[in-house]
Symmetry: C2
Subunit: 113 residues, 2 copies
Amino acid sequence: MPYQCGLDAAVDVIDGKWKVLILWALHERPRRFGATRRELPGISEKVLAQQLREMEADLIVHREVYEDTAVPRVEYSLTELGRELHDALGPLGAWGNRRIRMLQELEESSLAG
Amino acid sequence: MPYQCGLDAAVDVIDGKWKVLILWALHERPRRFGATRRELPGISEKVLAQQLREMEADLIVHREVYEDTAVPRVEYSLTELGRELHDALGPLGAWGNRRIRMLQELEESSLAG
């Protein structure tokens, strides 16, 4: 865990394209595995299970098992650290949207050029 | 460039461990190649040149060539979009520092346990 700075420790947790989208899905409300998967078109069961395990180990996702039904139910939710990460990503998401608009404008002007 | 959301477009630009550190180094002030490299212990010339080229293509770094000396000087600086990205990463860096402290506390308590 030798991180050079806080950003190192953050980028390490959100590596890859799925974890940020999983954060978004679980931030809305706790979800079961299937419901989480439906929010992430294109993700396989194996990859989702792996990502959730990693996020749990990174202390940003909580896994709760409910035994009150014949078949135990498993629900995933964000920990406090996970919710804080979601909020900290807000400005970065806004910057990314500005970048998308800029790239679109460049594309349109090169087509019109 | 088909991004699902702003965060996709942002995480795509800061992939890998060096770009965030290059952003930090150039945010302080414009720097030449050698001076940039000295801020990044462990980076090779080849990798730094590649990262700078990608950041230039992503419109977050500007490369200026000065011809007023016998040997032209090349200087790298952040574009406005680059400075905005640096600022948007602030909250993420703060979150990462909180995570580092938390991991250290866990480590200390497990040693003391």
